[in-house]
């Protein structure tokens, strides 16, 4: 170990050195912005300087060839500076308006997509899935590629009532996050336990403590220390699987997709909201997941036709009411939509507010 190198604990790097000089010069001094066309923003500073942004959708999981192609475009047609958005879109910034059109052409010629600004369906935020995660029920990258193939026109245009953020997640931990529409794995059966492995692999008290409904308890099975699950209490959340992989929750047949709507991180017009369940039991069907995409498209169509300007999905539903939402998107309403978790009562309608 003597020749091991000590790390330099620098933490988060200073972005100043990588920032476009016009953005450095006008830091904190921006006056307003305009949206000249989908995928392009024009920010104007009090100094009169302007910076043009071209937003680009990519495959998110970048190979070094693709990354270098993006760099080539940024150097030949841009100013050599980029910014990544929360949803993994890449943004090129240029100071000269004349550079915008050639830049867009270069981006599109290379197979990338310009869009994702303002009232578009922007890039779906997602995580690793089968490519790298240890607990995934599906492959978010494949789901996203399949959906974006069908939603690409909505990424390139800005015809929605307001912006639409879609997320996908490969388990109920929901790394993809809250979204106007979220497509998440929902486990539907209790874990299958490999009792031969539990004692060697799992720290049993940790696993017992991890269960949100206290359905797991230590047990001797075939003479070996293991764990057992009260399957009547189990809510099939999969929380026991990460600390104890022998409690297998993923299953080729019973791991389903569910769709949630109305998550909104912004404080604009109302406080931030969490997403609500609208559809479940959707087949986890690689490589193209057509059933999930079909429902997402129905929701988007109803929202696009029914919502007023500036209404996000949650605000649109709040106005038209949940009964009409379920009607318009042709989804069944079931007893499983009625919340049973703590605080559920706050979601019940305690009024005579009924729409006819």
């Amino acid at each position: 170990m003597a020749d091991m190198r000590e790390p330099i604990e620098t933490g988060c790097p200073d972005p100043w050195q990588y920032m476009h000089p016009v953005m450095r010069k006008n830091f904190g001094m921006w006056k307003y912005h305009e949206h000249p066309r989908p995928g392009v923003l024009r920010h104007v500073a009090y100094s009169g300087d302007e910076i043009w942004t071209v937003k680009v959708g990519t495959q998110r999981i970048l190979d070094v060839f693709t990354l270098r192609t993006l760099c080539d475009i940024g150097e030949r047609f841009g100013d050599g500076f980029v910014h990544f958005t929360l949803r993994s879109n890449l943004e090129y910034m240029v100071a000269d308006a004349a550079k915008v059109e050639p830049l867009i052409k270069a981006v599109e010629d290379a197979g990338f997509i310009v869009g994702g600004t303002q009232n578009s369906v922007t890039m779906i935020s997602h995580t690793q899935g089968w490519l790298h995660c240890d607990i995934p029920g599906t492959d978010a990258s494949g789901v996203v590629k399949s959906m974006m193939d069908e939603l690409i026109d909505e990424f390139k245009s800005t015809n929605m009532p307001n912006r639409v953020h879609i997320t996908t997640s490969c388990c109920q931990i929901n790394c993809g996050g809250q979204g106007d529409i979220a497509i998440n794995i929902q486990h539907t059966k209790p874990p299958k336990i490999n009792h031969d492995l539990v004692a060697n692999v799992c720290e049993r008290p940790t696993v017992v403590a991890r269960c949100p409904v206290a359905a797991i308890r230590p047990a001797l099975v075939n003479g070996k220390p293991s764990l057992e699950v009260d399957e009547r209490k189990c809510i099939c959340c999969g929380a026991c699987y990460p600390p104890c992989p022998p409690m297998q929750i993923n299953d080729a047949e019973h791991t389903k997709l569910a769709i949630w709507v109305g998550g909104n991180h912004s404080n604009a017009r109302g406080k931030p909201t969490f997403q609500k369940l609208v559809a479940a039991g959707i087949p986890n069907n690689p490589p193209r997941w057509p059933e999930a995409t079909a429902i997402v498209k129905r929701i988007l169509k109803a929202y696009k036709e029914g919502a007023r300007d500036w209404e996000r999905v949650n605000e649109w539903i709040e106005r038209i009411g949940w009964p009409r939402f379920f009607e318009e998107v042709e989804l069944p309403f079931t007893k499983y939509h009625i919340d049973t978790w703590r605080g559920a009562r706050a979601s019940f309608n305690a009024s005579n507010y009924i729409r006819f």
Partner: protein
């Protein structure tokens, strides 16, 4: 030497269609990269991924891998089907902290790509959901080599496990007129004062800082961060009445009333008869809607600062929690302002490290012990801004009411 390529009929179906295909990109590394090591690793990676698509199951398991001197920052992955796909049987991810605000020069991206190509699979993502650059796929030995190389030119690992995680901040003051604080400074100051807690996981669970420059909260900080910093202002919103009039003339009064005036959540706006805008700034909650509609006409005031919220997180284990207001308004101008921000974060992390249960997020601890007890624990006085409304339940003992009421009036008198 030509490699024997795995058949990938299901993955191949993800190469068609207009959106850029991650499978096509991965295949290029197998087919066109000059280095045999990368061709072979990627070939087996594709083989395992195809196997997942066919069987609808994942085949990675975790383990323990880190770099010398650190306890985290790497997501170790060992294949459960490594016999069939031996070249990618170790496929660890390095989480590297991005520059605050995710600004890059292409020169720097190239330098990172060159290093990664030397030691890793050639696959990278900007960024994972916590905010890290994800360098996906290398073996244990090369994890150290890659880290040593990029660490030398200024990059450090992020958090993984029960620790302070990599932080996130919006583009903010660098390019946005809504920005009410120096997001980049808040981001770096917070996370870089806890590098030890980032690199050596020893907390109850994860702890995330996120910074958004205004109430639009582009970083989802209130939903997703244990410690959310949101820019705001406390003086009057700036109104350019000529621009307001121009907007009304362009869009029409009905559109303006329907989309600006009546959309204000606290009814703080009114359209005057001469098409100027009246703003009741005492009722305004800085939600940002009217500024979003008219970025030319409306701007945040000059007395800027931040609101701090604590305890946001997703489902596991007790259900979703939004952050709760802890500090309604804090100036971030003087060095002392910034120091007290870091001190506040430190006292919260210390209290949580002391009192949180294993795998319990800060917000869950607050739920368990009660907000009032948490406030007492970190020495912050209760404030009605922390609540949507006061208590509804009459089931409570209030032995200390008189003293608490007196303390309230004393604080009021002190504040002037």
């Amino acid at each position: 030497m030509a490699i024997e390529k795995h058949n990938t009929p299901m993955l191949d179906q993800l190469e068609s269609g207009p959106w850029p295909s991650f499978i096509t990109g991965i295949k290029r590394l197998r087919d066109e990269h000059p280095e045999a090591r990368i061709n072979e690793v990627i070939n087996d990676l594709l083989g395992q991924l195809e196997h997942s698509y066919e069987t609808r199951k994942g085949y990675w398991k975790g383990g323990t891998v880190s770099v010398y001197g650190y306890g985290g920052g790497i997501i170790p992955r060992f294949s459960e089907v490594g016999k069939a796909f031996p070249k990618s049987k170790e496929f660890h991810t390095l989480r590297v902290q991005p520059p605050a605000g995710n600004h890059y020069s292409t020169a720097m991206l190239r330098q990172l790509a060159d290093s990664w190509e030397k030691y890793g699979s050639g696959l990278v993502t900007f960024h994972g959901q916590t905010g890290n650059i994800m360098f996906i796929g290398t073996n244990t030995a090369n994890t150290q080599h890659f880290f040593d190389e990029v660490n030398e030119y200024g990059w450090d690992l992020g958090g993984a496990g029960p620790c302070v995680r990599t932080a996130m901040s919006c583009v903010g003051a660098a390019r946005c007129e809504m920005s009410c604080t120096n997001e980049l400074k808040a981001h770096r100051l917070l996370v870089n004062n806890f590098v030890d807690d980032v690199h050596r996981p020893a907390l109850p669970y994860k702890f995330k800082f996120k910074v958004s420059g205004c109430g639009n909260d582009c970083q989802n900080a209130i939903e997703r961060a244990d410690f959310a910093v949101i820019g705001t202002w406390r003086d009057e919103m700036k109104v350019d009445q000529d621009e307001v009039k121009a907007y009304v003339a362009d869009k029409g009064r009905q559109y303006y009333i329907d989309n600006v005036i009546t959309r204000c959540p606290t009814h703080a706006l009114s359209l005057n008869d001469d098409d100027t805008l009246a703003v009741n700034n005492r009722d305004c909650v800085r939600c940002m809607h009217c500024l979003n509609v008219m970025p030319k006409a409306l701007h945040p005031g000059d007395d800027k600062g931040v609101t701090i919220l604590i305890g946001g997180k997703r489902t596991l284990k007790i259900g979703d929690l939004m952050g709760t207001v802890l500090v309604p308004f804090k100036k971030l101008e003087t060095e002392e302002d910034w120091e007290t921000l870091v001190e506040l974060a430190g006292s919260i992390i210390d209290f949580w490290a002391e009192n949180g249960l294993e795998h319990e997020r800060c917000g869950e601890m607050i739920e368990r012990i009660g907000l009032a007890n948490f406030l007492e624990g970190i020495g912050i006085e209760p404030d009605p801004n922390m609540l949507s409304h006061p208590r509804q339940s009459s089931y409570v003992r209030m032995d200390g009411w008189d003293e608490a009421a007196e303390a309230w009036f004393e604080r009021k008198a002190e504040a002037g």
